[in-house]
Symmetry: C2
Subunit: 215 residues, 2 copies
Amino acid sequence: METFNKTPLNTVKRIPARGRYDKETVFEILDAARVGHVGFVVEGRPFVIPTLYGRKDDILYLHGATTSRMLQQLEQGIPVCLTVTHEDGLVLARSVFHHSMNYRSAMVFGTARIVAAEDKLEALRVITERMMPGRWDEVRLPNAKELKATTVLALEIETASAKVRSGPPKDDAEDYELPVWAGVLPMLRTFGPPETDPDALREEEVSESVRRVTG
Amino acid sequence: METFNKTPLNTVKRIPARGRYDKETVFEILDAARVGHVGFVVEGRPFVIPTLYGRKDDILYLHGATTSRMLQQLEQGIPVCLTVTHEDGLVLARSVFHHSMNYRSAMVFGTARIVAAEDKLEALRVITERMMPGRWDEVRLPNAKELKATTVLALEIETASAKVRSGPPKDDAEDYELPVWAGVLPMLRTFGPPETDPDALREEEVSESVRRVTG
């Protein structure tokens, strides 16, 4: 099993048993999300900005307008921490103290670089296909002007870790006697019915990529 | 309408029309979430960690074990950026370039301080009630030992901003002719059926707080 090096940067300190360093777990968590929270430092202050991303091997691709403050900072090659969190359930214990959350999170550390013009199209394909698999082949691809207006960054994963909690609450032994319901309330992410663009010129069948995820 | 001061810190630069600075919008976004992504700087490097929080007026409360690396850093009074994002829908345009996401995000800037012993209980109530309204009155409250083992931080909101995108895709005029379905695929957050703790000693009716949100 391939793993990320444990360094002071990525070592899970709080409840180490929840820490995972294998690439399979980290990649699974990254690939199940669309939005990551990107942290970077400007003049000593932290900024955390949500962003769409896609992964290919050990690289995360982020994109945005060439005018974006985030991209203008990141393209200077400053350290980045990108974190992804899935909220899986509320852990409702018999005591306030043991309330918790079931979650899967991944923290990625690395430095971003600008993707060269000739690799932009493939990087945008990776991001778009993460957002909606199959969409790339259904729509008009970026033209030269659009490619120029888009900055794509590659964040090479230097190291990473995952943290996972699952399962029922763990109460103090004596609290199991309390007449309180305890358990987990699962949190789900679902899609609602597709909403067709009201500005559409004619009726189109909902795209196959969309039908695939809405059933 | 009360608003946060626009400073270089919180001014939305990319697509300024999506920026909001009124407290009502920022608080609505914060109060609809349970988990925020906290960014802070250690030795010049950014860290982004997911955390539960609750809000009371202009203060966000965060908590954790006294051994937590994040809390040990934050309690030193360093600058913090806490960001919350709701993913509301995939914006599926006729061109790759105009694909987007409907979302509501809030960025909060401030400095954390330790909550004094006598105020901890109230701060924990705020966090617990954000996680599951009504739960506080159903379960065993923290005892002295548990309170001592918990660090609670108060993050006073110095400034903040929100960013919101909603509505259908906006394509280039000539692309509306393309035979491509376009629209929004709404993303929903729902609860699954409550899962009773398999270690429960006897059958308990599901708590009222849980029944209230699961219907």
